[in-house]
Amino acid sequence: MNLAVRDILRHRWRFIQTSVGLGLLIAVVMSMGGIYRGLIADATVALTSTGADLWIVQKDTEGPFAAASRLPEDAEYRIAAVPGIAQASGLSFQNMQVSRFGKPLRFFLVGYKLNGLGGPPVIVAGRGIRQQHYEMVVDKAMKIELGETLKLGLNHYTVVGITKGMASVAGDPFAYVTLANAQDIQFKTDNDAIRNSRARIAQKMSQVATLSPAQITQLTPLVTEIAVSTHMVNAVAATLAPGADLKEIQESIQRWNHYRAISTAEQEKILTSGMIQKSKMQLGLFRIILLTISAVIITLIIYTMTMEKTRVIATLKLIGSPNKVVAALILQQSLLIGLIAYVIGYVIVSATYDKFPRRVELVAFDLEALFAIVMIICVLSSLIGVRKALKVDASQALGG
């Protein structure tokens, strides 16, 4: 007969209440671990889903995700010509916020070439983009229906497909349009701005003494066109040909093309140890604080339970119970509370993780490690109770 189990069964509602409270705390610790993993997944999902080996960005920047980067669109062709490069595609990235039904809608807009790299990795509903203009694919998390239209920049875009699991470092879901559309959205100015630009260029040219009025009239539209050109990308993603030397290609691009070539591994490091470092530390600190609180709570519960059982323990000792029976009673109860609380925490997180606004990734290793930590906390917490129980004098069972 197991005394710890019998006690728990007799006072099951009290134990369940205690375990639910503790379980909620463990659920928070568990979800924070999931959010931490989600942060890393969000930070790297764009890299992994693109399948690129190299990211070519503006010189002296850490773009396109961690810093601003701009390259001419035709850089793609120069990169594609580098020996060892299998494929190169210009990509555009931008954070966007539009108003939808009076509420702000944030997302991370990716512009890609239809037969290039960087498109939606999976389509869960509808289809991929087929037309060069005014179609878009959105992540499921944006909660936009197929066929709905969104006004981005100067034009309306129809949602033709839904992807899933794609989010930026900031947790904003991805939306995809063609590169040409993304360039329009990001760089194209409206007619007023073009007129202003043209007037400013004409005015600047008029200050050049060697230009005649006729030349200024002819040159102004040409210069304006170059000034308001949208043929820019934020990065060129490239894959390597089999057997190509990554380092060699990186050095070659940096020396001859004057761009920075960042390997996917380096890009991952930039994202995880730079952009989300503080969030990681914050979450880690919260987890430590919450685990400490859990430890204190378990210790208090076990200590209180031991104090309440002083007479039972004294009686057991008086009728000849060895110390190990008394210690096992306390330790097993502590472990059972921890186990029940862990299961409750796991059930809560499993039932709710997909409803969190940000990605929560439950990794088996994290769950196992947390389970081990909870069990260790239970053992350590019970030590005070066990010490107290072993100090209880058998004579305390006597008297009224």
Binding site: M1, H11, L318, I319, G320, S395, L398, G400
Partner: protein, 231 residues
């Protein structure tokens, strides 16, 4: 052979000017099957006598032999497993029953058997048999809070008897019971002393409850003041 043999048992608390002699030079013997009472007012030393004989309190000096085993010779005999002696050879009955609240009546008896290595069906069978004898066959699955005072004390008696001890020590077993229930419990103890051939020592302050006991020891200020009275 006596079940309990006590010679010159003394317990002194504190030292110097704080010294209190709780038990002074007590000597007595109790034979198997004999029911004896130790009576006296509060603070007279009767519980100290019970706890020193029951291996809970280490005496200052004296000799105690329980069921043929010398357990105290000046002090506790070194190398003896006192807990083992308590669970194998002694049974305890308490004033407030001290049943384990989260165990049913039958489980409260089984726990004592389990401690002595009797497990499973055998433990359950013996516990049920004992409780049946004590007219508790219909209360096996009741928790202590669901039992009357008299029933709870009978469960406690069953627990004390579970391992067939040669010595049963009872500390004010009727103090929490009304007169009728108290008398019933004492009658039961008398019967069990003979049936189980156990020596039963009952400590009580209520001299009305010891009617029919084989012998009565009266304790005052730590001393047995009167020769045992055979009732």
């Amino acid at each position: 052979m006596h079940a309990i043999e006590v010679k010159g048992l003394t317990k002194i608390y504190g030292k110097g000017h704080t010294e209190v002699v709780a038990l002074a030079d007590a000597s007595l013997t109790v034979s198997p099957g004999e029911l004896v009472a130790v009576i006296g007012p509060s603070g007279s030393g009767k519980t100290t006598m019970l706890t020193t004989i029951g291996l809970i309190n280490e005496p200052t000096r004296g000799l105690v032999i329980l069921d043929g085993i010398t357990v105290v010779d000046g002090s506790w005999v070194p190398g003896l497993d006192l807990k083992r002696i308590r669970r194998e050879r002694l049974g305890f009955i308490f004033q407030s029953y001290n049943l384990i609240p989260f165990l049913t009546a039958v489980e409260n008896v089984i726990v004592a058997l389990n401690l002595n290595g009797v497990r499973g069906k055998e433990a359950r069978m013996r516990a049920v048999e004992l409780l049946d004898k004590l007219f508790l066959g219909s209360r096996l699955k009741n928790y202590p809070t669901e039992l009357s005072g008299g029933e709870a004390q009978r469960v406690a008696i069953a627990r004390a008897l579970a391992n067939r001890p040669k010595v049963i020590l009872a500390d004010e077993p009727t103090a929490a019971l009304d007169t009728d229930n108290g008398k019933n419990v004492m009658e039961l103890l008398k019967k069990l002393a003979v049936e189980h051939n156990s020596a039963i020592m009952v400590v009580t302050h209520d001299s009305r409850m010891v009617e029919g006991f084989d012998r009565i020891f009266e304790v005052h200020d730590g001393r047995i003041t009167h020769e045992p009275v055979r009732t």
